[in-house]
C-alpha cells in the first residue's frame, strides 16, 4: 500500500515536474543548444500536461478512493507508467512534426517512459506520504506532551490570566462596535428603525470580530512549521543509503546515452563512494553533537553532495571521456543526484514505522515548544468556552432586544421602542461577557450544582469524601462520569432517586452512582461504555440491585 491520497495529487505532480523537464531538456539532442532550452521547457511542459491528464483520469477512476484507503502499489506503478508513456508520446509527436533530431524509436520511448513513470510516481507518492505521516506523528506527539503539560497546576494560573485578558479584549471590541449606540443622546433618541439598523450592525460586527479573532488564532496555532519537521528528521538519520539503489539503477541507462559504458560505470562508482562517505560521516555526527551543530553538519553534507559533479568532471576529464556538451551535463546530472539523494534521505528518515524514529522524534521536540503549545491549547480552549458563553448570553440577548424593537415599530409603540434601545445600550455597557468563573477543581460544588439542576425531575443526593483537592483534569473526568451516570439513570432507567458517592483513596477516586430505575438487565449505551473504558481503564462495573435499580461503580486514577 502506498501513499494514500498522495498516490495522485497535485503536490506529487508538481514535485516530479522538474524531473520531467530536466530529462527532456538535458537528454534530448534537439534541445542540446542553450538557445533551444526555452523551446525544450515549453515542449516538456506540454508533454507533462499529458501526464497530468492521465493521472487526473486515474484519480477519478481506479484511484478515486485513495483518500480513504492507501492505493495498492502495483496500481500506482501502472498508472505512473502509463502517465509518463503519454508524455513520451507527445514528445515524440512534437519532434517528428518539427523534423527535429529524434534517435529513439516510438516503441523505445514508450517503454522508457513507462519505466520512468513507474518509478517516479510511486517514489514521489511515498516521499510525500512519509513527510505527511511524519508531520502527523509529530503533531500527535506534541499533543500528547501538551496534554501532560496542561494537567499541571502550574498552567492553571496562566490560564486564568489568559481568560481575564481575552475577556477584556472582547469587551473592548464590543464597546468599539457599539460606539454608534453609545453615542446616542438620551434627549434626542433616534427613530426605532435606525435603532434596529444599529443593533443589527452591532451584532454582525461583534460576531465577525469574535469569529475572525478566534479562528485566526486557532489556525495559526495548529500548524507545524516545516523547519520543525526537517529538524526532527535530521536529528535521527538524515541520509538513507538505500536511496542509492534506485538512483544508480535509474541513472545508468540515462548516462549510457551520453557516455561510453566504462565512463558510466566509473562515474557511478565515484558518485556512490562520494555519497556513502559524506552521508556516513553526517549520519554518525548528527546524533553525537548539539542540535545547532547537527544542523550545520547536515547543511555542509548537503552542499558537498550537490557539488559531487566536481568529482564527476574531474574523473571524466581524466578518463578522456568528456561529454559532447562539455562539463555542463555532468554538473547538472550530479546536481540532480544530490537533490534526489538528499530529499529521499529525509523522506526515508521520516518513515515513522520504526520505533527508534519515534523515540528520537520525541526527544527532538524541545520543552519550550511543548510549553508554547500547551499554552496555545489552553488559550484556544478558553477562547472556545468564552465564544460559546458569549453566543449563549450576549448575542442571544441582542437578538431578543432586536425582536422587541421591531415589534415596537410594527405596533407604533414609541415607549416600548425607547425601552428596547435603552436595554441595548445597557447590554453594550454592562459587563455581560463575564462568564461564571467556576473553580475547575471543586468537584463538590460541581456535583451539587448538577443535583440542583436536576431537582424537580429526579432527586439526587451527593456524598463526597476527598482527602485533597483534585487536579482540573481529574475533576473534569469525574464530572464526565457523573454526568453520564445521571443521564443514563434518568433517560434509560427512568430513575426517580439517585445517590452519588465519591471516595478518595491514596492514588484513586471511586465514584458510585446508585439509582432506583427499572432496568432489569442494566447496560450502558455504547458511547457511555466507551467513556468509562477510556477514563477508568477497565475498572468500572454496572450491577443490578436485588430490590430494583442499579449501581454504577467507576474507579479512576487521580
Amino acid at each position: 500500500m502506498i501513499g494514500g491520497r498522495w498516490a495522485v495529487s497535485w503536490q506529487s505532480y508538481a514535485f516530479a515536474y522538474p524531473v520531467s523537464v530536466g530529462f527532456i531538456v538535458f537528454t534530448e539532442r534537439a534541445f542540446g543548444d542553450t538557445s533551444e532550452w526555452l523551446m525544450g521547457l515549453a515542449v516538456s511542459t506540454v508533454a507533462y500536461l499529458a501526464t497530468g491528464g492521465v493521472l487526473a483520469i486515474a484519480g477519478a477512476t481506479v484511484l478515486r478512493h485513495r483518500r480513504e484507503t492507501p492505493a495498492p502499489i502495483f496500481v500506482v506503478v501502472v498508472v505512473g507508467g502509463i502517465a509518463w508513456m503519454a508524455r513520451s508520446a507527445v514528445l515524440k509527436a512534437f519532434l517528428v512534426a518539427r523534423d527535429l533530431p529524434s534517435e529513439a524509436a516510438l516503441s523505445q520511448r514508450l517503454l522508457y517512459g513507462f519505466l520512468l513513470g513507474a518509478t517516479i510516481v510511486p517514489i514521489t507518492a511515498w516521499t510525500l506520504a512519509s513527510f505527511s505521516n511524519f508531520n502527523e506523528e509529530r503533531r500527535r506527539l506534541v499533543e500528547e506532551l501538551v496534554h501532560e503539560q496542561a494537567s499541571t497546576h502550574s498552567l492553571a494560573t496562566y490560564v486564568q490570566a489568559v481568560r481575564e485578558g481575552i475577556l477584556d479584549r472582547i469587551q473592548a471590541a464590543v464597546r468599539r462596535s457599539g460606539g454608534a449606540l453609545l453615542a446616542m443622546d438620551d434627549g434626542n433618541t433616534p427613530s426605532p428603525s435606525e435603532g434596529v439598523r444599529v443593533l443589527d450592525a452591532l451584532s454582525q460586527a461583534a460576531s465577525r470580530e469574535l469569529s475572525e479573532d478566534l479562528w485566526r488564532e486557532a489556525r495559526k496555532d495548529s500548524r507545524v512549521h516545516v523547519t520543525q519537521i526537517i529538524r526532527s528528521a535530521v536529528f535521527y538519520r538524515p541520509f538513507s543509503y538505500w536511496m542509492l539503489i534506485p538512483i544508480v539503477a535509474f541513472g545508468i541507462p540515462v548516462l549510457l546515452r551520453i557516455w561510453p559504458t566504462q565512463t558510466v560505470v566509473i562515474v557511478m562508482l565515484v558518485l556512490t563512494l562520494w555519497a556513502l562517505c559524506i552521508s556516513g560521516i553526517a549520519n554518525t555526527l548528527v546524533v553525537r553533537v548539539s542540535t545547532r551543530t547537527a544542523l550545520c553538519v547536515y547543511a555542509i553534507a548537503v552542499g558537498l553532495l550537490l557539488m559531487s559533479g566536481v568529482w564527476v568532471v574531474v574523473f571524466v576529464n581524466w578518463l578522456g571521456s568528456q561529454a559532447p556538451d562539455g562539463d555542463r551535463l555532468p554538473l547538472l546530472a550530479s546536481l540532480g543526484f544530490g537533490i534526489v539523494y538528499t530529499t529521499g534521505g529525509l523522506a526515508a528518515g521520516t518513515a515513522t514505522a520504526r520505533r527508534e524514529t519515534l523515540d528520537s522524534l520525541r526527544a527532538s521536540i524541545s520543552d519550550a515548544e511543548i510549553q508554547r503549545a500547551a499554552i496555545a491549547t489552553e488559550e484556544l480552549r478558553v477562547r472556545r468556552e468564552i465564544a460559546t458563553a458569549l453566543h449563549g448570553n450576549w448575542s442571544g440577548n441582542l437578538t431578543a432586544v432586536s425582536m422587541r424593537l421591531q415589534q415596537a415599530i410594527d405596533k407604533g409603540d414609541s415607549q416600548a421602542a425607547n425601552e428596547a434601545i435603552y436595554e441595548a445600550k445597557r447590554l453594550v455597557e454592562i459587563d455581560m461577557v463575564r462568564t461564571a468563573q467556576r473553580d475547575e477543581s471543586d468537584l463538590q460544588a460541581i456535583t451539587n450544582a448538577l443535583a440542583a439542576a436536576w431537582d424537580g425531575l429526579v432527586s439526587i443526593r451527593v456524598h463526597l469524601n476527598l482527602r485533597e483537592s483534585l487536579s482540573p483534569s481529574t475533576t473534569r473526568a469525574a464530572e464526565d462520569v457523573i454526568i453520564e451516570g445521571i443521564n443514563n439513570a434518568v433517560r434509560h432507567a427512568d430513575a426517580q432517586n439517585i445517590t452519588i458517592s465519591v471516595e478518595g483513596v491514596p492514588t484513586d477516586i471511586e465514584i458510585t452512582i446508585t439509582d432506583d430505575g427499572h432496568s432489569a438487565t442494566p447496560s450502558l449505551p455504547g458511547l457511555g461504555s466507551q467513556l468509562f473504558d477510556s477514563i477508568a481503564a477497565g475498572e468500572w462495573s454496572l450491577t443490578p440491585q436485588a430490590g430494583g435499580g442499579s449501581v454504577l461503580s467507576v474507579r479512576m486514577r487521580t
Partner: protein, 226 residues
C-alpha cells in the same frame, strides 16, 4: 421566577381563545424579553421560569397549553428532559423546543427522542414573534405542521455527531481514537467524511479540524462562518 401575568381573573371564554404558555429559559434577559413578546402576540404567559424544578411546579400550579423550552439549560437536564418531565404530569401539554442547535444531538448524545408532537424550532429560522406563535399553534394543534418540519435534524449519524462533539470539546484525534478503541487513521477518515456530508471543502492550506469546528459552531447558531 416571574409572577403569572394573569391569574384567576381570566374568564373562561378568554382562556379558550388565548394560548396559555409556560416559558422555560435559563437566561434572565432572554426570558423576560420573550415573555413580553409572547404577550404582545396574544398569548398568556402563565409563568416564565429558569429551571426544571420551577417548570414542574409551575405546570402543576397552572393550566398550561404549551411549554416553550430552551434546549440548553446549562449543566444538568436538557430541555428534552424537562419536556418529558412535563409530559409525565400532563400528557396533553404542547411542547416547543426553541433553540439555536440545528439538531439536539449537537448538544449531547445519549438523549431521549423528542416527546410525541413536540415542535423543534431553530432560532435562526424564527425571524419574528409571529413565527414563534405559529410554532406554538402547531404544538397545541391549532395549526397544521408541514411534513418533516419541526423535527430538528442534521444529516449525520449518531456516531458522526458524537465525533463532532468530541472534536468541539477539544479532544485530539489520538484521544478520540483511544476513547473509541479505533485507530487514528479511522478517526481522520471519519472526520473527513463528516466534513463532506456537511458540504465543507478543505483547501490544502486550511486546517480541516478548524473547519469542522466552524461547521459545528454554525450548526449551534454561533459565530465562525467562513
Amino acid at each position: 421566577m416571574e409572577l403569572p401575568a394573569l391569574g384567576a381573573r381570566v374568564d373562561h371564554n378568554e382562556r379558550m381563545q388565548r394560548t396559555r404558555v409556560l416559558l422555560v429559559e435559563d437566561n434572565d434577559f432572554t426570558r423576560s424579553t420573550m415573555a413580553a413578546s409572547l404577550r404582545a402576540e396574544d398569548c398568556v404567559v402563565v409563568a416564565s421560569v429558569s429551571s426544571a424544578k420551577e417548570a414542574v411546579v409551575a405546570a402543576s400550579d397552572h393550566d398550561v397549553d404549551c411549554a416553550v423550552i430552551d434546549l440548553h439549560l446549562g449543566p444538568g437536564p436538557t430541555g428534552i428532559d424537562v419536556a418529558h418531565g412535563l409530559r409525565k404530569a400532563d400528557p396533553n401539554i404542547g411542547i416547543v423546543l426553541l433553540t439555536s442547535y440545528e439538531d439536539p444531538r449537537l448538544l449531547s448524545g445519549n438523549q431521549r427522542p423528542l416527546p410525541e408532537g413536540a415542535v423543534y424550532a431553530v432560532k435562526n429560522d424564527v425571524r419574528s414573534t409571529a413565527q414563534l406563535r405559529e410554532k406554538i399553534d402547531m404544538a397545541v394543534g391549532k395549526a397544521d405542521r408541514p411534513v418533516g418540519q419541526g423535527l430538528g435534524y442534521v444529516p449525520l449519524t449518531d456516531t458522526q455527531m458524537e465525533l463532532l462533539r468530541m472534536v468541539a470539546s477539544g479532544l485530539t484525534n489520538a484521544e478520540i481514537a483511544r476513547r473509541r478503541s479505533v485507530t487514528e487513521r479511522a478517526v481522520e477518515t471519519a472526520l473527513a467524511r463528516i466534513l463532506r456530508k456537511l458540504g465543507v471543502e478543505a483547501d490544502s492550506g486550511e486546517n480541516s479540524r478548524v473547519l469542522l469546528l466552524q461547521a459545528y459552531y454554525q450548526l449551534i447558531g454561533g459565530p465562525g462562518g467562513r
